[in-house]
Amino acid sequence: MSTEDNSNRFSEVSRKFGITPEDYMLPARHMINLLNPDGSLRSDAEQGTEPGHEYPLPSPARLLEAYEALVVGRRVNDQNSALVRQGRMAVYPSSHGQEACQVAAALCLEDGDWLFPTYRDTVAVLTKGVAPMEVMTSFRGEWHCGYDPKAYNCAPMSTPLTTQLLHAVGVAHAAKLRGEQTVVVAMCGDGATSEGDFHEALNFAAVFKLPVIFFVQNNKYAISVPLAHQSAAPSLAHKAVGYGMAGERVDGNDLMALMAVMGRAVRLAREGSGPLLIEAHTYRMQAHTNADDDKRYREDSEVAEWVGKDPVIRMRAYLDDAGLLDEKVQGKITAHAEAVASTLRDGMNEEADTDPLQLFAHVYSEPTAQLREQRELLADELAREEA
């Protein structure tokens, strides 16, 4: 690539939208928001639509599909939290309140596309199609990630913050070198944007013009640390221009807006417009994990404020009003959610995979002589215990 290539690419996109490349890269002045908290559609004027930031409404069928995933996601979050309280699961970082983001991240992708989730993105992983008990494996305290990333085109949920964004870039790069049209969604939180790997990933994606959508769930906290201690930028989406990619802010509790923005981002990326940075404004309704005590760092009133912006209620109200959701459909959706929840309850009653000799099986393609010795030692101990 060369400077000319890169500027050509941006002139093309920006010409398409009739704006300058810089304006294409800077986020719209206001975050993209299509539904009011009460579920009513915002008018164009309310949306403050700007050139280059117009987002067509997703189709009713698409919205219904997304709503179903949303309801399932909420149920899974709450079921998992219950399982943790009952001591049947070790730890769970709930995305309660952020389910619209989770659902949109997975649904905007096509089958061959890849998703790179974090520890909080259970619902996105589920929506991508991974079986519920497989997703939950690591939260049970098992030693592996539970699912086959290649079978689902879904990376293991990453704990070391933003390291996975670089893996996402690599997956996209490999696909591009083979001439494949793979789009990758790479997720992280607001706090994670401060890590060096965030910077390196966005820069690599931009320089190599890769179809990666960096999707930041800005839920206002990194454990106890509020956004203001994390960044002084006008918005996290303003980071995009510094890499030469487009940035956009979207209401992360507005499933309609998310589907629209993520849908367009995937389209642009697949057409070769390079990476994008999407910042979704949302809120983590529960503590960081069950081990955290959020009373130490935020007011109940702040949490209460966000109850009124709940993504599930908002979407349901819209669909109800639009006549898209009759009782029968809602019933089927609820049943689906209950079925997933009961799979989880049942699964957590079953024994986890705990063959200790497995510890040596996958460190290398074959155990080294050293590992074979260590395996022997443990096998001996186990044999003696049994005897």
Partner: protein, 361 residues
């Protein structure tokens, strides 16, 4: 270098207010390891205005393990504060603050999350003093909660001390008792050299009856023998020596108790200061017993345990009745909760190793 760290070593110490913070702790009440660390930090903030504490969630929250609990409230958000979420940033900023007359005490939230800071630690923290012929010393402490035994998930239980111990210019301490938690952290903060301070997280909630206020007074009055470069005989014995540190000290003591029931007298040496290392205490014990097992949680290959074995056989070869053996973690990624007990040195595994020390029948 092995005397107590004192206000002489650290010119910023204001003698007037010394030990005020520790006074609150009641004499000989059981106190947790975590509280001892917390008190050490508070006392250091009290006596030395150049001490600043920062890291991820160490402010309002008081740290995910609450080791910095209450410090922001008490000392203000300029003395104890949250940073953006970036470990290289935290260490690199600490380097700069230490260059400019502060004594940063920083927290890495978990062992594996110190890795992003590795370049700053290896290329600067460890080398700035040397690079500048002693003109830019970097008095700073990098606190790292480490090791397993708490059912932590991946990336939360690494024993990473070897990476730092292998890096010249760093000192590496790890306490295993409540009193040491207090004293060694005070000493680390007062050290003119950078210290990587490893806190065995499974001990955070362990309790001992320790009078922290008295410890503080003694420390500040220079009545406490220093721990830098000084191992500690955690249990005296005569038949073989268990050499260990940090989270494995309690396991070694357990093994020694079990052995005692069978009439075998095991000495347990708690290394405490990995760098600098106390060859004298360790060597004297092994020369006395003639047999040794080195125990550590970290994977064994190219580890601190390897180093101890190498040193002991170099220095005590003719006293040894058997090779020096190791009981360490396996050479595998740290396994998650359901399987960690198979990975960690256990009293049984230690006793098996002791059995192999070629005892005459």
């Amino acid at each position: 270098m092995s005397t107590a760290a004192t206000s002489e070593l650290n010119p910023n110490v204001s003698k007037a207010t010394a030990s005020a913070a520790a006074q609150a702790a009641k004499a000989n009440q059981p106190v947790t390891f975590g509280k001892a660390l917390n008190t050490a930090l508070a006392d250091a903030l009290t006596v030395d205005e150049s001490v600043v504490i920062f890291g991820e969630d160490v402010g309002t929250l008081g740290g995910v393990f609450r080791i910095t609990d209450g410090l922001t409230d008490r000392f203000g958000s300029e003395r104890c504060f949250d940073t953006p979420l970036a470990e290289s940033g935290i260490v690199g900023m600490a380097v700069g603050m230490a260059m400019n007359r502060m004594r940063p005490v920083i927290e890495m939230q978990f062992d594996a999350f110190a890795y992003p800071a590795f370049e700053q630690i290896a290329s600067h923290v460890a080398k700035m003093r040397n690079r500048t012929q002693g003109r830019l010393p970097l008095p700073m402490v990098i606190r790292i909660p480490y090791a397993g035994g708490v059912g932590g998930v991946e990336h939360h239980c690494d024993s990473s001390e070897a990476y730092y111990a292998h890096t010249p210019g760093l000192k590496v301490f790890t306490p295993s008792s409540v009193a040491d938690a207090y004293l060694m952290l005070r000493e680390a903060i007062d050290s003119p050299d950078p210290v990587v301070f490893f806190e065995p997280k499974k001990l955070y909630w362990s309790k001992e009856a320790v009078d922290l206020a008295q410890l503080a007074q003694d420390y500040e009055a220079r009545r406490t023998p220093g721990s830098e470069g000084k191992a500690r005989i955690a249990r005296a014995g005569s038949d073989a020596t268990l050499i260990t540190y940090g989270p494995s000290v309690s396991t070694a003591l357990e093994a020694a108790s079990l052995a005692a029931e069978e009439g075998l007298s095991l000495e347990v040496v708690d290394v405490r200061s990995i760098v600098p290392f106390d060859d004298e205490t360790v060597g004297a014990s092994v020369r006395k017993t003639g047999r040794a097992v080195v125990i550590a949680e970290a994977q064994g290959f190219a580890s601190v345990a390897s180093e101890i074995v190498a040193r002991v056989q170099e220095r005590c070869f003719h006293s040894l009745a058997a090779p020096v053996l190791r009981v360490t973690g396996m050479d595998i990624p740290y396994p998650a909760p359901t399987l960690e007990k198979f990975h960690l040195p256990s009293a049984e595994r230690i006793l098996d190793a002791v059995d192999q020390l070629q005892w005459e029948a």
